[in-house]
């Protein structure tokens, strides 16, 4: 078990505690505010040009379901079906066991498992395959699958936007259970994820995310929001992990901050699983027994959670300087700024906390405290807390009172399905011509292919002929290399580039 996050805490704690506790005057009266009344946090995200009203909350981001449906049966290959399908296809996977890595590099593919009397479509990596699902296309949906025994990730996204990952069972599937990365506008909900060596659900470098109604357990980290913005994590059951909910900035990543995260209405219970994170990994430094950990993330709101039985602490707020296994990044701001702790139920946390935390309690004069709900080390400017008297805390005495008591005004941060950019055929033709054709064709000189002038003469009144030719070129010139087929361009683009090529003048 690693207790790394709070390494070095002791030294800091003594000076810190001395500065705050002993400087304080007599005990204040307890003021009580109610989270069902009062001002509401409206969030840090204002979508441009999108009218969002609470009554019309967005619950779907992948757009209308495509009409094209293919069915994959037990014994068949899901990948073969995807390969054969155009963008805009629902791949329905019948119950059965599939041993494969499925990758999706096109848009609008939905992999929907069919559940029959509790029997699911199972992707089984048999501890030989790396990842179950890799997607980079937009509008990707994965539903009703069961994924087990992969070595890498269960479901990993690389830059796909408008994704929906729901109703999946993922167990013992490597480093991350569900890991959308570098994507925008996504939903991860109603998944059951367990036995993951890093985060069961890991939102990495992504924006506008909803993680809701998931059951995550027996993993090193439950749900991790890392270097991401505008994420809401709500109504999840997060139990028996080493750490429950994490909002992190990991240094050294190209996106440098985590901003605007709401952890609300989750059950964060008994996250005391021994830490089995890979040596050197960030999460291997999490003290087993941590309910919620905020590290260098800004504007994290913690509201309405039931946080209980986490033996180190219910909530730890820290910075890069106090964390282990954390490299340096001059471009990352290392502190957790503006943490907002609203009403939560915190019970029986910190009953077996680490030595360093005990020392902190001692330093604040909280002698004999049997529990510890909230620990804060490192600077955390602009932070606030309401009804602080209900928790056993260290390090939050300089937090101000929050100016709001709830986040009801922020329904979620999802956006309407972002439509694909409309590109005029003429514009597309020009870009393809300049971006691709000019590599081999100059206007009036021999390069690799014949001059554009010559092509203009040959196809002067036949752009379609040119468009057809580039899709399936035929070698006509013995002293020129054969042209590679350009059939990856769709017919409309091929015609557009042909028309453009036939009218350029230099």
């Amino acid at each position: 078990m690693k207790k790394g996050v709070i390494v070095g805490l002791l030294v800091a704690a003594v000076s810190f505690g001395a500065g705050t506790y002993f400087g304080r005057g007599s005990k204040q009266d307890l003021t009580i505010s109610s989270s069902t009344q009062g001002a509401s946090y409206s969030g840090g995200f204002k979508p441009e040009g999108v009218a969002t009203t609470p009554g019309a909350a967005i619950r779907s981001v992948a757009g209308p379901a495509p009409a094209n449906v293919v069915v994959v049966k037990d014994g068949e290959s899901i990948q073969a079906a995807i390969k054969a399908s155009p963008p805009g296809t629902i791949v329905r996977v019948m119950p059965g066991t599939y041993h494969e890595t499925v990758y999706i590099d096109k848009d609008d593919i939905r992999i929907i498992g069919v559940i029959e009397a509790g029997r699911r479509a199972v992707l089984d990596g048999r501890k030989q395959l790396n990842d179950a699902i890799l997607y980079s296309g937009n509008n990707f949906v994965a539903e009703n699958l069961e994924i087990r025994n992969y070595k890498g990730n269960g479901i990993m996204g690389q830059a796909g936007n408008n994704f929906e990952i729901r109703n999946n069972l993922i167990a013992d599937s490597g480093v991350y259970g569900i890991f959308p990365q570098l994507g925008k506008n996504g939903i991860v909900e109603h998944n059951v994820v367990s036995g993951i060596a890093d985060a069961a659900i890991y939102i990495g470098m992504s924006d506008n995310i909803l993680v809701a109604h998931n059951d995550v357990f027996d993993s090193v980290a439950g749900i991790e929001i890392e270097n991401s913005r505008h994420a809401i994590v709500e109504h999840n059951y997060v139990h028996n992990n080493s750490g429950g909910l994490l909002a992190f900035v990991t240094p050294g990543l190209p996106i440098k901050d985590t901003v605007d995260v709401i952890f609300r209405n989750n059950f964060v219970v008994g996250n005391n699983h021994p830490n089995f994170g890979a040596p050197g990994s960030t999460v291997s430094g999490i003290p087993a027994g941590t309910g919620i950990l905020v590290m260098a993330a800004d504007d994290v709101v913690i509201e309405g959670n039931v946080i209980s039985e986490n033996k180190v602490a219910g909530l730890i707020i820290t910075d890069h300087a106090h964390a282990q296994n954390i490299t340096a990044d001059p471009e990352s701001e290392p502190n957790s700024d503006r943490v907002k702790i609203l009403d939560n139920v915190m019970l029986r946390n910190g009953y077996d906390t680490i030595t360093e935390a005990k020392a902190l309690l001692l330093a604040e004069g909280k002698v004999g405290a049997k529990n510890l709900d909230i620990v804060r080390v490192g600077p955390s400017p602009g932070s606030c807390i309401i009804n602080r008297h209900q928790y056993v805390t260290v390090g939050v005495s300089d937090f101000s009172e929050c100016e709001f008591t709830n986040t009801a005004a922020t329904v979620n941060y999802l956006l309407p399905p972002v439509p694909p950019r409309e590109i005029k055929p003429g514009e597309r033709g020009k870009v393809v011509y300049l971006g691709i054709c000019t590599g081999c064709h100059t206007y009036n000189g021999r390069m690799i292919g014949p001059p554009v002038q010559v092509i203009q003469a040959l196809y002067m009144d036949n752009p379609q002929g040119l468009a057809d030719f580039i899709a399936r070129p035929v070698k006509k010139r013995p002293d020129y290399p054969e042209m590679p087929p350009q059939d990856y361009l769709d017919p409309e683009t091929r015609l557009a580039v042909a028309q453009y090529m036939l009218q350029v003048t230099n």
Partner: protein
């Protein structure tokens, strides 16, 4: 082989249909391939990647992801003048080296050496990085010590271990050359007076930003041509981006670099002392031994690999990562190795597939033409002796 063909044809085709007689030096008035000449008369890059978006406009992600912001907007003349300068040994202290000596177009704009050889056979200390796609970068040199191409240029021109020139001598030799005076005047018509360092750096930057490689078979796959990659290469792609190998976590598409500093713990070749890399530049002991993540585009063209050429081939590099975290780190160094340096335990076949995939990142269709002659009258030099 493809590139050999390209060179052959480029040589056979010479300077285009209406090109100059060999004794004249004229500057191209049209933009290099891949660029559109705007109504303002400058060259702007056009690529299919401009049809895609990327998170936070960072140019990182998966297949159909926009590129990072880039440099362009130079005039055709600036680009072409930069080309002459790039190949002209007059830029070095003793006329023995041009930029192309270490950034040889025929060697992926590197030099095929473990570490480069500078003026007077000096060991330049580190390997010459490729110049393909430098238009998209924001940090230069292995240790990220320059933040623009214009800031990078003097670092190499005036280094005693590299080109060994001085500002004074550089300007004296260029201003003493009637051809260069005329070409600079044509290129910078509003600047009166002698040639300046800034003009030299601008022209060199202009040329380098024209070195764009985005038409590999991988790119065709990205744009929707499934058959552009072989089965083995697709397998390799999937290992490359899997969370077991984790290559794409730092060598992130579409540029195949996230341009971060990473401490990998690569070995030095026998007899070379440990290189602390970016530590002094960023003032961070935690980044001791850290280097900028290099692009993998045209990587098959730029062996040997690593900042000091410790690996003869791509298989060797991938093997290194597969041997596990810290396998080449001397015990007492206490490096903060990057968290993605793990112990992936890839099979031998998976290692081979990654190498197969890396081969699909080769594209030199926009290879510029080496001038047959340069204004100094010196022999244009590619790789040094």
């Amino acid at each position: 082989m493809m590139r050999a063909l390209v060179l052959l044809i480029a040589a056979a085709g010479t300077a285009g249909a209406t090109g100059p007689a060999p004794t004249d030096f004229t500057l191209n008035t049209s933009c290099p391939p891949g660029f559109e000449k705007t109504t303002a008369g400058v060259c702007e890059l056009r690529t299919l990647y401009q049809f895609y978006d990327s998170l936070e406009n960072r140019g990182l992600g998966g297949t159909r992801t926009a590129l990072p912001p880039h440099r362009d907007g130079f005039t055709p003349q600036q680009i072409d003048l930069g080309r002459y300068l790039f190949f002209d040994p007059v830029l070095s202290g003793d006329g023995s080296l041009s930029c192309a000596s270490c950034h040889d177009p025929a060697r992926g704009f590197s030099d095929g050496r473990p570490t480069s050889i500078g003026i007077h056979d000096e060991d330049a200390g580190r390997a010459a990085p490729t110049l393909w796609n430098v238009a998209f970068l924001k940090r230069f040199f292995w240790d990220a010590r320059a933040s623009s191409l214009e800031a990078q240029a003097p670092g190499s021109l005036y280094s005693r271990r590299e080109m060994g020139n001085t500002p004074k001598q550089l300007l004296a030799s260029l201003n003493g050359n009637a051809v260069y005076r005329r070409l600079f005047q044509e290129t910078f018509p509003s600047d009166r007076g002698p040639i300046t360092e800034q003009q030299v750096f601008t022209a060199l930057a202009a040329f380098q930003t024209s070195l764009v490689s985005l038409n590999s078979r991988y790119d065709r796959y990205v744009h929707g041509h499934d058959a552009a990659l072989s089965e083995r290469e697709i397998e390799g792609l999937n290992v490359f981006r899997s969370f077991v190998a984790r290559c794409s976590e730092c060598h992130t598409p579409p540029l195949f670099t996230n341009e971060q500093i990473a401490v990998i713990g690569m070995p030095e070749p026998d007899g070379r002392p440990f290189d602390i890399g970016a530590e002094p530049i960023l003032g961070s002991p935690k980044l001791k031994g850290g280097f900028k993540v290099p692009t993998l585009r045209n990587i098959a063209r730029t062996a040997p690999y690593s900042h000091s050429g410790a690996f003869a081939d791509l298989h060797g590099v991938v093997e290194f990562y597969n041997k596990g975290r810290g396998n080449a780190v001397p015990k007492d160094l206490g490096l903060y190795l990057h968290w993605h340096i793990s112990d992936p335990k890839l099979t031998e076949a998976e290692v081979d597939r990654i190498v197969d995939f890396l081969g699909a990142l080769t594209d030199e269709t926009f290879l510029p033409q080496q001038p047959a002659r340069v204004p100094s009258g010196l022999t244009p030099i590619k790789r040094g002796k």
